[in-house]
């Protein structure tokens, strides 16, 4: 008898006892999408803390003019490792982690399409991270110079050539990024195959949860955007170790080729990073405003549109390399056009809240902050897309402020919303609301303190990636305020860490469905068993649990 097995009258899964070594083995050898997803997210959080501490040192150094906490070389390594870690070891694993854990649960599947490939993806990603950080030890290499890479996260040629960056640090950077990229591609293929081939009976693509939709498009972007990066890294390694001349300007090579290859990856990458946040908001906002996602078809259309337009805007990172006025105009135009589908998303999320009953729990707070901050981030993005304006703003702290607004105010806030929302499902325990509120307000205030001010430093002509600056150029107070903002941010993150630890030990039991949810994951026990569902559910609308909870007016009547 096939039907959604709803929480009631289900045999309690008996938890068998394991010794420590057995448990360890079970985790290392697991191919279960939930455990892999968890390991992704946890390692990403670990790297977030590491790179965050680096950022704190950066801010400490820049707090006052002519500061000497760290020297120039150390500083350059710090921002390189900070940026690389945040993008490749925090952002990317978060994508893989969330999609791994949630996609099968949401589409009523028992596992991912390729469980072993999935495990491979995780461990190869971890290897990449290890390679990157090994540079601190092995970076000296044969010619002895340098420890960690100090070429910046987009490592412009020819600064990366053997002549200008000796030692092996840059090689570890390239290999680390290359290897972890393989992992991302593996999990992307996996997500797509899962969503296309393992949906439970009745779940047509039009009924697939928005979260899954966004993650599928995200995986698509990964598949078409990461290979250019891999190609660039391979060429770089050929240059450095076999004496090839791809980026060797002495041999007639072009320094600009690297920039094109990198940004053909690099810009889609930033949407790869923000999409999990989009996905999370599309689930959290409806639940906490008790309304279905407003204009679902348009939302799907918007992500697909972004998924394609974002492939054609990369050179807006290169307005200052002296392109023809035509290319400049073209890339300015395409960059601004991306604003239209993104706008649709922002408007529809707002419309979802409009007329609802907003439950002001921590997840929703993070979503609301996301909406406002991402609005600012996007609009500064539009300013950067106006090429003449960007000639002034390029490589200034205005850009730094822009992308921290997108990456923290957008991505990180979205991720926090997701973690507060799904933690009960993952652990069976609720996170503390009070600690959650502290986390939210501290982090929100600190973040805005730091990065609103940095916009103005940029407008006053402060270039990025400088290890120190002279007083009397109007940057002093701005930088001091920005640095002070790190303190509340750190405090907020400590609240979060403490909240996780405390709640997983002795948090209030969550039950299967604490938020009165509508998607299938809430129809499983918390935490879900290895096999997710005893009986595969059968669905008839995009909100199966709503149908079950409201037999009198189910969604499928309106489809």
């Amino acid at each position: 008898m096939a039907t959604i097995d709803y929480p009631l009258d289900r045999p309690e899964p008996i938890a068998p006892e394991f010794s420590f070594s057995e448990t360890l083995y079970n985790w290392v050898a697991t191919v279960d999408h939930k455990r892999l997803g968890l390991m992704y997210v946890v390692s990403a959080l670990f790297f977030l803390v590491v790179a965050g501490i680096m950022a704190s040192v950066i801010r400490l150094q820049l707090a006052v003019p002519n500061n000497h906490v760290v020297g120039p070389d150390t500083f350059n390594r710090l921002f390189t490792m900070h940026g690389t870690t945040m993008v490749f070891l925090v952002g990317m694993p978060m994508v893989a982690g969330f999609s791994n854990y949630l996609v099968p649960l949401m589409i009523g599947a028992r596992d991912m399409a390729f469980p072993r490939l999935n495990a491979f993806g995780f461990w190869i990603f971890l290897l990449g991270g290890f390679l990157l950080y090994f540079s601190y030890i092995g970076g000296g290499g044969l010619s002895g110079a340098g420890s960690a890479p100090d070429v910046g996260w987009f490592a412009y040629a020819p600064l990366t050539s053997k002549a200008f960056s000796r030692g092996a640090a840059t090689d570890y950077w390239a290999l680390g990024v290359l290897v972890s990229g393989v992992g991302s591609i593996a999990s992307a293929i996996n997500v797509i195959a899962t969503a296309f081939c393992l949906r439970c009976p009745g779940m047509t693509l039009s009924r697939m949860p928005m979260f899954v939709w966004v993650m599928v498009v995200d995986s698509w972007i990964i598949l078409v955007a990461l290979p250019p990066l891999s190609a660039a890294q391979i060429m770089l390694e050929l240059d450095r170790n076999l004496g090839a001349n791809f980026f060797d300007t002495q041999a007639g090579g072009s320094a600009v080729l690297w920039q094109h290859l990198f940004w053909i990856f690099g810009h889609p990458e930033v949407y790869i990073l923000i999409f999990p946040a989009f996905a999370i908001l599309s689930e959290v906002i409806p639940i906490f405003s008790r309304k279905p996602l407003f204009g679902r078809p348009a939302m799907v259309g918007a992500v697909v549109a972004i998924g394609f337009i974002s492939l054609g805007v990369w050179a807006h990172h290169m307005f200052a390399i002296g392109m023809t006025s035509w290319s400049n105009t073209f890339f300015a135009a395409s960059s601004m056009l991306v604003g239209v589908p993104t706008g649709i998303k922002i408007f529809n999320w707002t419309a979802t809240m409009y007329g609802g009953k907003l439950r002001m729990r921590t997840p929703l707070l993070f979503c609301i902050a996301f909406l406002l901050q991402f609005l600012v981030a996007g609009l500064t993005g539009i300013m950067l897309a106006v090429a003449p304006f960007d000639w002034q703003l390029h490589d200034s702290y205005f850009v730094v402020a822009h992308f921290h607004f997108t990456l923290i105010g957008g991505l990180v806030f979205g991720l926090f919303a997701g973690m507060y929302y799904w933690f009960p499902k993952v652990s069976g325990k609720m996170l503390s609301e009070t600690l959650g509120k502290w986390h939210f307000w501290l982090f929100c205030i600190g973040f805005n303190m730091t990065f609103i001010t940095l916009h103005f430093a940029g407008l006053l002509g402060m270039p990025r990636r400088i290890y120190t600056y002279y007083p009397g150029r109007g940057w002093d107070t701005l930088n001091l305020v920005a640095s002070l903002g790190v303190i509340p941010q750190a405090a907020g993150l400590l609240c979060f860490v403490w909240n996780i630890v405390r709640s997983s030990l002795r948090g209030a039991p969550a039950g299967d469905d604490p938020w009165d949810g509508w998607t299938l994951e809430w129809a499983t026990p918390s935490p879900p068993p290895e096999y997710n569902f005893e009986k595969l559910p059968v669905v008839r609308s995009s909100r199966p649990l709503w149908d079950l909870k409201h037999p009198q007016d189910p969604d499928w009547k309106f489809e």
């Binding site: 200052a320 400049n328 809240m353």
Partner: protein, 335 residues
């Protein structure tokens, strides 16, 4: 030592010219910068309006529909699935706005990039080095470093055209008050132009990360009244200062390794790796703006450049005090 560095940009004064240390991109004093400012203000106006409208909408929604204590949780709000009219509206309006912005960008891009140099415009070739700027005046046969002298043109008639390239890695030329950035890329030449409206010292930085001392690759454009500029060029065209009582010092200098990296026109010192020193004393700073160019700093610099500019490519020459005195006195004779 660092206190000198700290003072570098503060003390410098060219007699009779104001130094503009606040590099506010919204206070431009040249045509390209001005065009960019206009584009910027228009963009700011539009995006600002969008922010107020959309932000206001979000805040209003949150405030208006936050859950009150009194309503009961079992009662779900009316389930609305969407509305084609509204969604069409907030798709089309942004598209229109975007087209306005595209128009603005296109116009300014063309006006700045496609301006062609008048026949007798001053041409300058700017070459990026790690971490200093080589400045060549092909028409005058002048080579100097880190300080770009150009004529100020209140009417914008005789603009200065720059050819930008690099010998090592990518650098970027950025004087916020004059114009936006243009990169200096090895094996490629970029072009840009500036026309400072007022005499003055315009400060800027290298704006593309170029390695250890990217932070101290400072840059100064010195705009002078045309006749002052003329006298400057005449001065620069003179051979290296050669007064009698410095001859001993000169011999000393030429006996040292300095000559392998520095050029002093008309002397055995013919190095090309470092800045041209022929008229060193006509420059106000040394080390691409890290130090004020006075006797004390010159001595400190030559003694150990690594202290003022750690990682820079001039090694400490480990000179004896006597050699130092001689060398510095010679350098000071290079008026």
């Amino acid at each position: 030592m660092f206190t000198y560095a700290l003072n570098a940009l503060l003390q410098v004064q060219v007699p009779g010219i104001t130094e503009r240390r606040i590099t506010d991109i919204f206070k431009p004093l040249a045509t390209p910068g001005e065009a960019e400012r206009q584009a910027a203000f228009l963009t700011l106006a539009i995006t600002g309006a969008i922010f107020i409208v959309v932000g206001g909408l979000i805040i209003y929604t949150v405030w208006r529909f936050r859950r009150r204590a009194d309503d009961d949780s079992r009662q779900e709000p009316p389930q609305v699935y969407g509305s084609n009219q509204i969604e069409a509206a907030w798709t089309i309006i942004p598209i229109l706005i975007v087209f306005v912005l595209i128009g603005v960008s296109a116009r300014v891009i063309a006006s700045v990039q496609n301006a062609s140099p008048p026949p007798k415009a001053l041409k300058i070739r700017l070459i990026g080095h790690q971490w200093w700027w080589e400045v060549q005046y092909p028409d005058y046969g002048i080579v100097t470093a880190n300080e770009i002298h150009v004529p100020a043109t209140p009417d914008g008639k005789n603009a200065t055209y720059l050819e930008l390239t690099s010998v090592d890695v990518i650098h970027s030329f950025w004087i916020p008050q004059l114009a936006g950035k243009m990169d200096l890329i090895p094996n490629r030449t970029n072009y840009m132009w500036i026309d400072p409206r007022e005499p003055g010292v315009y400060v800027g930085n290298c704006a593309e990360y170029c390695g250890t001392q990217h932070a101290n690759m400072l840059l100064r454009v010195i705009a002078q009244a045309p006749q002052d500029f003329k006298t400057w060029t005449l001065g620069q065209q003179q051979p290296a200062g050669n007064d009698a009582q410095a001859s001993g010092a000169k011999a000393m200098f030429n006996s040292l390794a300095c000559v392998n990296c520095h050029l002093v026109r008309g002397t055995p010192s013919v190095g090309k790796f470092g800045p041209d020193l022929t008229h060193l004393m006509s420059r106000q700073t040394i080390g691409a703006g890290v130090l004020v160019n006075d006797a004390k700093n010159l001595r400190a610099w030559v003694n150990d450049p690594q202290e003022a500019k750690p990682g820079c490519f001039m090694p400490s020459m480990k000179l004896t005090d006597h050699e130092l005195d001689e060398v510095v006195s010679y350098l000071q004779s290079l008026k």
